[in-house]
Amino acid sequence: MIHLLAEASPSYAVPANIAFGITAVLMTYSAIRVVTASNVVHAAAFLVVVLAGVAVNFILLGAEFLAITQVLVYIGAIVVLFLFGIMLTKAPMEGEERPARDNWLLGAASGLVFLGLLVYALWDGFGKDKLPADLAPTSTGALSDAIFGGYLFPFEVVSLLLLAALVGAIVIARRD
């Protein structure tokens, strides 16, 4: 099957597409479980699967530095922060009685409508546009040149934003 597929169109990257298909199925399932799981710790675990899938997608797209950053920042820091939040707020561990609000049907409807619109617009706009066949990994050097060259000012603004968010989080969360 794979052999036939490769013979049919030489430009079709078979291993990359198999990897994409597996991660896409896993990510879709896990994302739906994140928003429907009644146990919040399970939801955090499924969120890890989605974030790792995004990192795999970054590697498929040749963005290796971003994939590493995704694993470090999201899986390493943000998920741990979420687990601390779940622990400190004593959110029910053994399944809430009703995980969804009363208007969950409205939420599902708006999600589906939004998905339909997006799929239509994307199919209409990009159709069968192909990514470049020789998708080389982006060198981290070039990326750092871009950040510390043309994007230096936005980068500094982001660092200021992080500082402000840190101070703000401490002010909001401290007990006094």
Binding site: L61, L118, L143
Partner: protein, 99 residues
């Protein structure tokens, strides 16, 4: 690989995140759904960067990751403050400004 396969996957993630933001009761779960949405945006940015051979998309994806980290920090602090004052993280219970 087609450009659209990445964009469609990001669209699915985005829509699932929108559902989570609207429908979940737990404040921490709402923040997790926002993370789903931001990751969908990141996939889009990197896919277009690969399509056009431009680096700007990857730089902006890095910015989005940094902003997401800041957002989670402040968001969880707010959820903690709500929990301390209301003894719950159910966002339906927090209706002080309801008319």
């Amino acid at each position: 690989m087609y450009l659209n396969q990445f964009l469609m996957l990001a669209a699915v993630l985005f829509s699932v995140g929108v559902y989570g933001v609207i429908a979940r009761k737990n404040g921490v779960m709402v923040l997790m759904s926002i993370e789903l949405i931001l990751n969908a945006v990141n996939i889009n940015l990197v896919a277009f960067a690969a399509m056009n051979g431009a680096l700007a998309g990857q730089v902006f994806a890095l910015f989005v990751i940094a902003v997401a980290a800041a957002e989670v920090g402040v968001g969880l602090a707010i959820v903690l403050a709500i929990f301390r004052n209301y003894k719950t993280v159910d966002i339906d219970e927090v209706d002080l400004m309801k008319g």
